[in-house]
Symmetry: C2
Subunit: 413 residues, 2 copies
Amino acid sequence: MGLIVQKFGGTSVADAERIKAAARRVTETYDAGNKVIVVVSARGQTTDELIELANEIIDKPSTREMDMLLSTGEQVSIALMAMAIHALGYPAISFTGGQVGIVTDSFHTKARIRNINADRIRKELDNGSIVIVAGFQGIDVNENITTLGRGGSDTTAVALASILHADRCDIFTDVDGIYTADPRKVPNARKLNKISYDEILELASLGAQVMHSRSIEFAKKYNVPLYVRSSFNNSEGTLICKEIDDMENIVVSGATVSKNDAKITIRSIPDVPGQAAKIFHEIAKKNINVDMIIQNASVEGRADVTFTVPRSDLKNALETAEKIKKDLWAMEVLYDDKIAKLSVVGIGMRSHCGVAEKMFSILAEEKINIQMISTSEIKISCIIDEAHAERALNAVHKIFGLNLVKNEVAAKV
Amino acid sequence: MGLIVQKFGGTSVADAERIKAAARRVTETYDAGNKVIVVVSARGQTTDELIELANEIIDKPSTREMDMLLSTGEQVSIALMAMAIHALGYPAISFTGGQVGIVTDSFHTKARIRNINADRIRKELDNGSIVIVAGFQGIDVNENITTLGRGGSDTTAVALASILHADRCDIFTDVDGIYTADPRKVPNARKLNKISYDEILELASLGAQVMHSRSIEFAKKYNVPLYVRSSFNNSEGTLICKEIDDMENIVVSGATVSKNDAKITIRSIPDVPGQAAKIFHEIAKKNINVDMIIQNASVEGRADVTFTVPRSDLKNALETAEKIKKDLWAMEVLYDDKIAKLSVVGIGMRSHCGVAEKMFSILAEEKINIQMISTSEIKISCIIDEAHAERALNAVHKIFGLNLVKNEVAAKV
């Protein structure tokens, strides 16, 4: 008995059969005595088709008109979802983002929600209706249609769940839940029953398969429990929630490896104060996100600075680095885009020591060289050669016992 | 120099190329120094595809949700049209029906416009923008999306033209204009340069190929000149406007034949007052539209009543007629659904006599029997055997010289 928000992604509403299946999920939840809000994305390939249509007409469409165009995808989905729920004999009513007062700023294609006036939703819920809301969209103060960018439907679902104090927000998707590692890379990866917001945020590359980090941050801020589950079967999913006591016992919750970074080294920079600041000031001006940074000890008054950037920004970053090299009287700029970032994440790291040592040891045993290291309170990341990525991931996954059930994991460390 | 509304139908915006072509039409009008409002329909088959999607889910969709679904069709078109105009280097901004304050009643799928708050359109026009508005749609007072039913985009265009006192409303479509008769049936049918609202309303079956009568009535009421023209070529179209002096010289403007009616005869009704009233009261209760009615002279205290109804309502009307037969002690009910209605229309009929005689003579000459006759101030219609429909149309078209240029027509009578 409560209020539950259920979000269905594009693959979960791709065709009539899937919409009907989703509608059955919704009515089961309603039959269990809950008030239900349904948030839907555009059907399957709709968004891509609309983008293609736009590209046939103009190279760089106005972002306002893109939002006008793309927001129709979710509008089709909500109408069909309402019809599917009606077909099962239940009351349902659909709303666009604008109709339920999801007001955003005016940054078209990547708008941020400013406030939600949920009066209309409350009224319809009180009337006994299942309320269906278009994900991904809102309106600005001048009633221009806006969209929320990547992961936007998740953001809508989480925002509604938080403002309406929902008991849970179900994220129905095409995977079963969150795994200890990517099951395509680690055959014995295990599905997690529960994971904390912080861990999933650090496991970005795992989480991104399921939810955009922006929505998770939002859920964390408003403490909305997220339940990630498959829309195609009834198996248990993964609950993403705030840290609870028994989580502390899990030292490592998951491992991940990503190949999205490239490494740049500016060699032999005269070691005087302010040099690093200059470098990263210039890089930031180009809107490039720097991840890891190391500076080696100064030798003969000169130091090397190495940093990683998204591979897609490498060209741009290299141009900037070449410019900086001249300004700083550095010697040369080197780069490597054949690297991988291996990470292990777990809340228990805070209270258990030896995790880093264990990770470095197993990599050494596997004869995998560590090029860079960065750590947070609950994460350890190493940059390694891309060629060893999957092997390293499997080794780490095994040494931390991630394939085993949780209590055993805890016991092992 | 003025304000022009330009409406493009579904075939005129069916794909990227056609949208670009339409955009060029718009910018030419803008370059000529006009303010331009563009009204667009959903692309080509979009509406049918959306209806099919709904039918895959439920037999009788809620009309509110159908409106939610179908209104996306025009929304896609306006965004693409704005992009196409941008691609030509002109300022343009698109709006949904709701965004420009087209407020309707709440009769979903066949809503009527109640009022339009055109402030936002005026502001954007004053800013120098080409304003693009989604046809066919509005919102009710509770911001539910509504659609205007058949011919809805024309209605939007005409409504905007009237409220903004536009100098002209262009209706771009897939035909060249209005013809003296259907060119598929009468090979030498001629395109009219000008025709009055009243004539086009009487020539419903001709007009319906181009515009729904509702929009024409609207245009007539607010005296908005409509210019029907092809979106595929630059040939002159047909101006639909209020009656002007030189129109009086044209006795017959067009001829048309339709096969949409069926004839019912209730035979041998005791001829006492109130019988006809009873019949048509019952028929009206079934929401069936009766067109022509004749009652023959009473023979031995009994009369026959014959009337026509839409063929699609025949079954329903026959059931009602059988019931009436018993109530009225009439003898039998006969019907014929193999009939055609041949009509000639012209404002000049008011001041010229001999039109009916000429029509009847040519049909007699062609040995075509006239079953029923009805006339209005500017129209004569005859019910004939369906088998002779095209032959009769061609004969009438020829005898009134409709293939000839207008002055000659006038001279002939």
